[in-house]
């Protein structure tokens, strides 16, 4: 073995090792083999909630240091925290003990503070705020849960009446099960529509956003009314035809001069009046639907209407429940 080449190889090998070590430390810690000491702040708390030495200090979720020491002081506990050099913390930044997971690992969160304020120096005390205890939050959630339960119970009672297919929730359930994909589609459409409404796109959007559209709306409602009148006629016709079918007579004359038919006609007239009234009040519902946050109750009303419409039109062939709901709402 040539001695010189051996020396060169060993030398190169050693330099390679040094270089690799340097690169590794460089990429891990900016070239410092031992971590440069940052500065230390004191954070006082009434309760540290299990914050311990080595836990992270994070500013807006980014690690800026670590807890060096926790100690008991007079009537409070103090955490000495080491902040990495170069991290600027203004004197109005606030520290609080946060929980990074439900399993109980903690970190000390520090807010940004005002950038123009003087910066905290080594040994300064950082402002703190009492920490929300996760167990308290969970207890509150518990009581909230029971309240919600009772509310939902009431709502359930309120909705659980009527309907030939059981209460509303059951039907909704069926409806959702049967029309899952369509619902999804509808909801995404709804989102689109809502977005458009927000942006003022489309008629409804303009309707909501543009007060000038109000007049047009009124006109539309008027048209709606006349349409309802048409519907009234149509209903009358249908009733007549139905009555004809029932009585077995084929002619309008019979219809006019028969007492039973007259009575039927009276009943249908009443029905039609009912419908008209409801359509009239429907204007208010639509208004509420758009303006009022008591959406649910309105929806309930619509649902009931839809319900009845379904009853009335049950012989008109299969119409999807979603179609009805969508029609009733829009």
């Amino acid at each position: 073995m040539n001695n010189t080449s051996q020396t060169i190889r060993v030398g190169l090998f050693f330099l390679l090792g040094l270089a690799l070590a340097w690169i590794t430390f460089e990429s891990l810690n900016g070239g410092r083999i031992f971590k440069q000491q940052g500065y230390t702040l004191v954070a006082g708390f009434a309760n540290l909630k299990g914050l311990k030495t080595g836990d992270e200090v994070r500013m807006a979720g980014v690690k800026v240091g670590a807890v060096k020491l926790t100690r008991l002081a007079a009537h409070r506990v103090e955490a000495l925290i080491t902040i990495e050099p170069g991290t600027k913390i203004p004197n109005d930044a606030v520290a609080s003990v946060e929980q990074s997971s439900l399993l109980g690992s903690n970190y000390l969160g520090v807010t940004f503070g005002t950038p123009t304020n003087p910066l905290l120096q080594d040994g300064d005390e950082i402002k703190t705020k009492p920490t929300v205890d996760m167990s308290e939050v969970i207890a509150q959630l518990g009581s909230l849960g029971s309240k919600l339960e009772s509310v939902i119970g009431e709502v359930g009672q309120a909705l659980g009446t009527g309907g030939e297919n059981g209460n509303l929730f059951q039907r909704l359930d069926q409806l959702v099960t049967a029309n899952g994909p369509k619902l999804t589609e509808t909801i995404s459409n709804l989102q689109d529509i809502t977005a458009k409404i927000k942006n003022g796109d489309g008629t409804l959007g303009r309707l909501v956003n543009d007060p000038k559209m109000h007049d047009e709306l009124l006109a539309t409602v008027t048209e709606f009314k006349s349409a309802a009148a048409d519907a009234r006629t149509f209903m009358a016709d249908s009733k007549t035809i139905v009555a004809d079918l029932k009585s077995g007579r084929g002619t309008i004359g019979t219809l006019l001069y028969d007492e039973t038919t007259a009575a039927n006609l009276k009943i249908s007239m009443q029905n039609i009046r009912d419908v008209t009234t409801k359509i009239n009040s429907g204007q208010g519902t639509l208004g509420k639907l758009l303006a009022d946050d008591q959406l649910y109750r309105d929806a309930q009303g619509v649902m009931k209407k839809a319900d009845r419409a379904l009853d009335g039109l049950s012989d008109q062939g299969p119409i999807t429940a979603v179609g009805i709901v969508a029609n009733a709402l829009f």
Binding site: N3, T7, V10, F13, G17, I33
Partner: protein
């Protein structure tokens, strides 16, 4: 009892050997060529096997941890796991095991044959302490070479893990995410701890192998027995010391 005494006796002899070698520390500069030769034999020639072995250990570590971490959705921590395991544990230990098998056995075989063929006796009569020219350069060389081998081993393991994480279909953690996770929880002292461990292992391996080689008695047959004994002892010591050194380093941080 007899075995216990034998073990204590060996420890004592090894320490005496260390002391005798340390006494000649001043002669190290003029033994520089010998030191370089040992560096070459211990470090340079171990490089290929260390590279290949640790690369595949990194690969298999990523593969296994990917498989098991998938169950609880912690795949993004593969980099952290492979990185820390390589730097703190597998890097130093595997390098030490390779060095014990490759270098320790060679040292013992060489010294045992020198002892059996009276070369050691010749050195003694020439008033050249064997510790000075046989043990000291080796100890110095291993102290210089172990960190180099270990840092190379660490990096090979990390890159092996990164490759496997990226190109294994069931893991598919790209190398950027892998190295981000690796860096996020790796502190510089994790690497220095690993290097310290490697130093301790290397030092103990060479000391033990020299001691066993030099205390060989009998004929050529004993050379083989000594080599076996040296490698087994080294391996046991590596793993036993590993626990205590790790514990001490954890306490120190």
């Amino acid at each position: 009892m007899k075995h216990l005494l034998a073990i204590i006796d060996s420890i004592g002899c090894a320490l005496v050997l260390l002391w005798r070698s340390a006494k000649h520390l001043g002669t190290l500069p003029r033994q520089f060529p010998r030191f370089i030769e040992q560096c070459y034999l211990i470090g340079y020639t171990s490089l290929p096997i260390v590279t290949i072995l640790l690369f595949f250990i990194g690969c298999v570590l990523a593969l296994q941890s990917g498989y098991s971490m998938e169950n609880f959705g912690a795949k993004q921590f593969i980099g952290t796991l492979v990185g820390l395991t390589m730097a703190r544990e597998l890097g130093p230990v595997m390098v030490a095991i390779l060095v014990a098998g490759r270098v320790g056995s060679a040292i013992t075989a060489e010294l045992a044959s020198m002892k059996v063929y009276q070369e050691i006796d010749a050195l003694v009569t020439m008033n050249i302490p064997p510790e000075r020219i046989l043990v000291l350069p080796r100890l110095a060389a291993i102290l210089v070479m172990m960190p180099v081998l270990t840092i190379i081993a660490d990096l090979c393991g990390w890159f092996g893990g990164a490759l496997v994480s990226q190109f294994t279909h069931s893991i598919s953690v790209d190398s950027e995410a892998y190295f981000t996770a690796l860096k996020a929880y790796m502190k510089p002292h994790d690497i220095t701890d690993g290097l310290i461990k490697a130093e301790v292992f290397g030092f103990v391996i060479v000391l033990v192998c020299c001691h066993i080689g030099l205390s060989t008695r009998g004929g050529p047959r004993e050379i083989g027995a000594s080599v076996t004994k040296a490698v087994v002892t080294s391996l046991i010591l590596i793993l036993v010391l590993d626990y205590f050194v790790t514990k001490a380093l954890l306490l120190a941080t």
